[in-house]
Structures are given as C-alpha cells and as structure tokens.
C-alpha cells in the first residue's frame, strides 16, 4: 500500500517504521525537518518537509496515489482538517486521525473521521493494570469502550456458574479454555479452578468483575 503520514513525532515515527517493515511505501510529512530524526535509522521512505495543508506539499508526498492516510500531529484541529480534506479532495478511503488532547475528541465525530485517542486509551490501560494484574486486556474495540479480558478462574469459584461471576449487562462471556481447548462460553457454564476465561466488558463491567473475584478470595 502507498501510505501518507502527517506528523513525525513519537507516534508518527513509530507508525512509519512499522508500516515500512510490513512492506508498505510510506511518505512522512512534517513542518520541521528535525522531526525526521525521530525515525528509526533503518526506515526507508519519502520524507517531505512542509505544511500539511499546502496542496504542493501533499502532492509531493504522493497523496494522489495514496491508499491510506494517517494524521498524527500534536494538533487536533490540524489532524481533523487534513484528514477531512484528503478524504473529500483526494477520495482516500482509509483515513485515520490521532486524537492528541482527549478533551477535543468530539470534534472528530463531527468530521466523521476514524480516530484513535492514544492518550486516553493508554491511560485507561494503565488504570486497569493498576487495579488488578491478574486480568489482562487482550483486545480493545473502538477506543477501548469495550475490551476483551482474559483471566484464570480462582479456586474459590470452582463449581459456580459463569453467570454468578459476571456482572450482567456490562460484561458478557466469550470463551472458556480448559486443558488447552477453547469452547464458546455460555452463562450456565460450570467453572473449574484454573479455567482460562475470556469476557467482553465495559470499564464498569470489568471493575465489578474484579470486585467479585477479590471478594471470593478473601
């Protein structure tokens, strides 16, 4: 794929290198050539110094032949505006913007742009890890509104039904792995100590689940 990235800070440089390693042709735009120092020395791609709203700069980066586009600067207005413009002017189907300041996330909704809120997502993961290390998040949907968690069933819950452990509407069973074989879990599944459970849950749901697991142990 031909991919254009605007912004070569920590996120942009990391993204550019990953995409390059997976065989994509990558162009990176930044208004300061110093930013290109953030790139891994092994990165090979097209570096364009200039303002991202300038038509000539976008053309030099190959926007007319791009399959995908990412705006990952530290300015939310710039990310939203440049993402919107490449979508409507250059008809690029696959456009993603980085939300830098979580306070301005709703702006992207008005533009109807796919957005990744790296700071709020990161903060949420750290918060979860601080609460309870035995529950691992294995997949995040959206910007972490719903996540899939993995944990092992403690001895105190042996013989209970799955529905007794999981807190209703904000948490749902996904799968149980017993002795290396996974099956789709139902609510009346009877648990065994050492089973590996997968659930999908909101942040509230997983908080409640953690409390239930902790209560039984004490």
């Amino acid at each position: 794929m031909n991919i254009v990235i605007v912004g070569c800070g920590r996120v942009g440089a990391e993204l550019a290198f990953r995409l390059y390693q997976h065989g994509n042709r990558v162009s990176v735009i930044d208004h300061s050539s110093l930013a290109f120092d953030n790139l891994n020395p092994d990165f090979r791609g097209h570096l364009v110094e200039g303002e991202a709203l300038n038509r000539d700069v976008l053309k030099r980066a190959g926007i007319e032949n791009a399959d995908a586009f990412a705006a990952v600067t530290n300015s939310d207005p710039l990310n939203a505006v440049v993402a919107h413009l490449v979508r409507i002017v250059y008809n690029i189907p696959n456009v993603v913007a980085r939300n830098y300041d979580p306070r301005w996330r709703s702006m992207y909704e008005s533009f109807e742009i796919q957005v990744v809120s790296s700071s709020s997502w990161g903060a949420q993961r750290i918060e979860e890890t601080l609460y309870y290390t035995e529950i691992r998040c294995v997949f995040s949907a959206g910007n972490g509104e719903i996540e899939i968690y993995e944990f092992s069933i403690p001895p105190a819950w042996e013989g209970h039904r799955f529905s007794e452990l999981i807190p209703g509407s904000e948490c749902q069973p996904v799968a149980i792995t017993r002795a290396g074989t996974a099956i789709l879990a139902s609510e009346d599944h009877v648990l065994k100590s050492g089973d590996i459970a997968l659930v999908s849950a909101t942040l509230n749901g997983i908080r409640e689940l953690r409390q239930r697991l902790a209560r039984q142990e004490s």
Partner: protein, 221 residues
C-alpha cells in the same frame, strides 16, 4: 445581529469594536492569557469568553447555537477551518467568515470546510498594491465581495481619448459598468447619449482587468 468572533488578536478586536459601534451583539472567544489581558481593557467583560478556541462547551456557552454569524480570526488556519466546519455542521450557523493566514492555504477556505467568506489579508494587500501601482489617477473607493470587483473613481483629464465621445460609442471593457458621473459637483445618471467632458469624475463598477482598460480609455491621447 449576533456575531461570535473567535480570536481576540488585532483583527478580532478591531472587528468586535466596529460591530459594537454599529449596535450589534458580539461575543469574543480568546485563549491566550497575554491577549486576554489587553482584551479586557478594550472590550466589555461580559462579551469575552476565556478558553480554548476549539472547546465545544465554551463555544456553546458563548451562544454559538443562536449566532447569526461566526467569524474566525485566529492565527491558525487549521483552527479557523475546523471552527467554521463545526459551526455549520454541529450548530447550523447560517454564515461563516474565516481569516486566511497563509495564502497557500486559501484553496481550503470554501464549501470544503463550510467557509462562506474567506478573508485573505495577504492577497487583498497584494492586489491593492498592484492596483495602486498600475492605475495612476484612478481611485479605489470600495472592494465588492472578495475583492474581485470594485467601485473605482477616475477624473477625466485634459486631452483624454474619451472626451467628446458618447457613452454608447465608448469601447468599454466587458466586466465594467459606468455607474455615475459627477459633473460640477452634481451626480449625472449616465445614459447612452451622455458625452464625457473634461473634469468629469466617473464612477465605475469593474473587475481588475476592466479597471486597467478603463484607465487607458481615460488617459490623455
């Protein structure tokens, strides 16, 4: 009219004072502490809203839902574009006006971001200077719309080519209309048969190409 101005720099402040003097209601949004200190000395406190230009809660507090016009005058082109877009898309504001800072970004200031009127300072200045240089005695009275057309005034000098010629026989440029003639301090409504006299002041509405041709017509032979 109720106008929300985003950005309290020199442009925003001038605009605010002008509109207040004309009896309009304005609210002005500013985020820079050093600019706010000055703003409070120049404008009534109840008109000033402090906080981020792109904070929807602040824009709503400033009354963006009821605004007739939103004018963005910040020094950031991305901010100005994003605000105009939100003003229309989210708040259905009828009219948006945006300042263009970098002329190279001027191509974005249209329906792509719901900008109804783009004010490109650098371009207006450059055009004015160009016209001042090329038009000699012709005077620009008024810029119409975005500066493509203007109302100009030219005094017919001694020995001008147009002297003694009827208006209908004058090879006027395409985008040019003679609006009025001032003769001995009185306005004459021009007709086809009106003949130009020495010392006439001619008012014309024209684009810039028309103005240059007009200047040649009225120049001494």
């Amino acid at each position: 009219m109720f106008v929300i101005i985003i950005g309290g720099g020199n442009t925003g402040t001038q605009l605010a004072m002008l509109l207040i003097n004309q009896g309009h209601d304005i609210h002005i949004v500013e985020q820079r502490p050093e600019v706010l200190a000055r703003l409070h000395q120049e404008l009534p406190t109840e008109a000033i809203y402090e906080g981020s230009f792109i904070d929807p809660a602040l824009l709503e507090q400033a009354g963006i839902r009821e605004a007739n016009v939103v004018a963005t005058t910040t020094t950031g082109d991305a901010e100005n574009l994003a605000i105009c877009f939100l003003a229309r898309r989210r708040y259905q504001v009828k009219r948006t006006i945006a300042r263009v800072n970098d002329p190279r970004n001027a191509w974005l200031f249209d329906e792509k971001f719901h900008v109804d009127v783009a004010l490109n300072n650098a371009e207006i200045m450059a055009r004015l200077i160009e016209e001042e240089m090329s038009m000699g005695d012709m005077m620009m009275l008024l810029k119409l719309r975005r500066g493509e057309f203007s109302l100009v005034e030219e005094k017919i000098p001694v020995g001008a080519r147009a002297l003694g010629t009827a208006l209908k026989d004058l090879p006027l440029p395409e985008n040019c209309v003679i609006a009025a003639i001032i003769r001995h301090g009185k306005i004459i409504v021009p007709r086809g048969v009106t003949i130009f006299e020495e010392g006439d002041e001619v008012l014309a509405v024209t684009d810039s190409a028309g103005a240059r041709k007009l200047a040649t017509l009225f120049a001494p032979d």
